[in-house]
Symmetry: C2
Subunit: 299 residues, 2 copies
């Protein structure tokens, strides 16, 4: 029998159609055993879910703002990995913009050659090499870079020259010319990059953050950039976010800010629909779901 799936918070014909196509049956919350939630903010999420709800699909890849809502009474899935191809493309754009000094060029009003050093031949560290990291490694493959991956446990990541466990992350700071932060936002990753890490980085290093703003100590980054301790930073996420007008990062010549658009509106809905299709089909078939949240790990 087709499982009853509630789509919320608003009626969404596209998601409801895909629920049906995947073998589910759209239903009101009170009659549902599964919930697909399409609002990335938790404000409108029901304070109490009916006991019958066995599974909740959230729309975000990162779920740090859902702390206190995700419980142990049912299975919760995030959209982790669903947006990875998009975010990996944006990350590649930022890496190349750093190497090719595009932000400086964009602000220039005169023909002055910046110090371009190709991405090819360089070492790129991916700190938190999950789905985005794996997709990024695929995009980097033809460019001839050396990838050093860092994962929680250090199990070898395909395509990386080396994979380090999280407790050896300090080895990458002095080595990499490009450091990509792609780790989830948890208590353990808060201020993963602060003053000591920035000081340990190469002076020609670029920091790229496409994960969450909390991974970087913004104050320390502002100081490191102003002092020229690193070559620069490209940030799709910031802390605070949105970055307020007048913040020093807006006028820092070594910084490039993109306003959390790695997973652009033009494609995020399409990706979410695909994930919902996949997970409803798995749920209906009694198969393991993609993106099950590990409450202990926090993502």
């Amino acid at each position: 029998m087709a499982p009853r799936v509630h789509v919320g918070p608003d009626p969404d014909p596209e998601l409801e159609a895909v629920v049906t196509a995947a073998g589910g049956r759209p239903a009101p919350l009170e009659q549902a055993e599964a919930v697909v939630w399409a609002d990335s903010q938790p404000d409108r999420f029901p304070a109490r879910l009916p006991e019958a709800v066995r599974w909740v699909q959230l729309p975000s890849a990162g779920v740090e703002s859902w702390t206190g809502i995700v419980d142990r009474d049912r299975v919760w899935t995030s959209a982790t990995g669903a947006y990875a191809p998009q975010v990996a493309e944006h990350t590649l754009a930022l890496l190349l913009a750093c190497a090719r000094r595009l932000a400086e060029c964009a602000r220039e009003q005169t023909w002055t050659a910046p110090d371009v050093v190709p991405l090819a031949g360089s070492t790129v560290a991916i700190v938190g090499a999950g789905g985005i990291g794996r997709d990024l490694i695929g995009l980097l493959a033809p460019l001839g870079v050396e990838v050093v991956a860092v994962t929680r446990r250090g199990h070898p990541v395909e395509g990386a020259a080396r994979t380090l466990p999280a407790d050896r992350v300090d080895e990458v700071w002095p080595e990499a010319r490009f450091v990509v932060l792609a780790a989830p936002a948890t208590a353990a990753t808060r201020h993963l990059v602060g003053a000591p890490q920035l000081a340990a980085m190469r002076r020609d290093a670029w920091l790229v953050n496409i994960a969450r703003g909390s991974l970087v100590d913004t104050g320390a980054l502002v100081e490191a950039l102003a002092a020229g301790e690193i070559a620069g930073a490209a940030l799709d996420v910031t802390d605070p976010e949105p970055l307020p007008d007048g913040h020093p990062l807006w006028s820092e010549p070594r910084a490039l800010i993109t306003p959390h658009v790695a997973n652009p509106p033009a494609s995020w809905k399409r990706s979410l629909v695909e994930r919902v299709r996949e997970n409803v089909a798995r749920y209906a078939a009694g198969e393991p779901l993609a993106g099950v949240i590990d409450l202990d790990a926090g993502y």
Copy 2:
């Protein structure tokens, strides 16, 4: 016997060492049968070469400024293809910067999401798909784009969904969301993109020129950008070049200029050395040289 090769215009121990390693013997011009010229400007090139010189290696990929010097009395080679990996990387950087609106972001002082549309899923036309085009196709492969190549004769280019001959180039203007100009500068490619072509392009199209400034009618481009006829342009080469201070392209929000740095100084010498190594070895072995200039084609 090792062929005598003159390295000019200045003594260059690195190039002389590679001449020797490749089986040649550095020699003064008067005793040489081959010349390796390391100055990309023709100003200091000898007005008359000794008759004994059978081969001249020029340092540039494009040789339009060597017209009148290249003759039919001997073999001339350009460095065509030697810098292709570098230029392809820069082209990818510019394509992604267009798709991800990085120039606008770099100039922004407030958190405003631009209209990001991913490169993935789009059609990229490469007009003049030679060595740079082939390398670019390799870099684009994992990004999931459709490549339409245009070559002089239209022989299929590997990795391209379609290849058109030059006389059907007009088919790409209304189709491609990204148009990359990678053709040599010749009489036939002058103002390849002018007002009619810009008018035929999609309104959401981006023009990327990493070849030579003369391929684009700058005045027509300035007007098309100001009128919003296309989404924007990223130019590593301009006409005139250098682009003078105060030129309207410097203040055009839809334009991104990089000052002819696709083949950056940090790596061009290394690439030239490799090409000299390859060609001196071929010359010494009596094999065909790489990059022989076709005077009739002009490149």
